[in-house]
């Protein structure tokens, strides 16, 4: 299979990932049904993961790993959950991407990895205080298109 990321890009990302502080696990859910971009997303993340010791990739299937998919509230693929990892412990910080992160969205994925790795939202104190005070769920879905 031809590589998706060329050596130039791999080198650039490797450099950017030097800034990673804490471990991040990419949890990818794929599906055998009706998922045009699952294989390519798997390949893309597979090329990304080796670029830092702090980055790992786990791949699950929505049908065969149905319990896990239900636990994470994943019903469609490809779904990339960008989780904080400490040893064997995973924490879902609620950051995810649905679809193949191509074009401009690829750098969004890289930024998300760095964000989770820093374990800090970078938000203003007022925003943090408000979000901490929430007692019911908040869902933000940012729709984008491939560039």
């Amino acid at each position: 299979m031809e590589k998706l990321l060329n050596d130039d890009i791999l080198g650039q990302i490797r450099d950017v990932f030097q800034k990673m502080q804490h471990p991040v696990e990419l949890v990818l859910f794929v599906s055998q049904d009706n998922c045009d971009y699952c294989a390519e997303t798997h390949q893309l993340l597979g090329e990304l993961a080796p670029l830092s010791d702090l980055l790992t990739l786990k791949v699950y299937d929505i049908q065969t790993d149905a319990d896990l998919a239900a636990k994470f509230g994943v019903s469609d693929a490809p779904a990339i959950l960008i989780m904080a990892r400490e040893g064997e412990q995973l924490t879902d910080l609620g950051v995810r991407y649905l679809g193949i992160p191509s074009g401009h969205e690829f750098s969004t994925l890289i930024q998300d990895i760095l964000l989770v790795s820093g374990r800090d939202s970078g938000l203003a104190p007022e925003t943090r205080a408000y979000l901490k005070s929430l007692t019911s769920p908040l869902l933000l879905q940012v729709f984008v298109t491939p560039t």
Binding site: Y97, V142, F143
Partner: protein, 56 residues
């Protein structure tokens, strides 16, 4: 309790159609309680979130 997801509108066209997404980025808050089109400063997004959460 807080989830933020990027959604590729062409692969997830059913979802995009549900919210009648045309221009991107388009941020849908709480299954349609509010919508923010375009990239906005944090303070604006916070306002929209506060308004969306008021119904709960």
């Amino acid at each position: 309790m807080i989830r933020a997801e990027g959604v590729e509108a062409m692969e997830f066209s059913e979802l995009a159609n549900r919210y009648q997404i045309s221009g991107v980025p388009d941020t849908i808050i709480n299954d349609g309680a509010a919508r923010v089109v375009g990239a906005v400063p944090e303070i604006n997004l916070l306002e929209e979130v506060k308004q969306a959460m008021q119904g709960r």
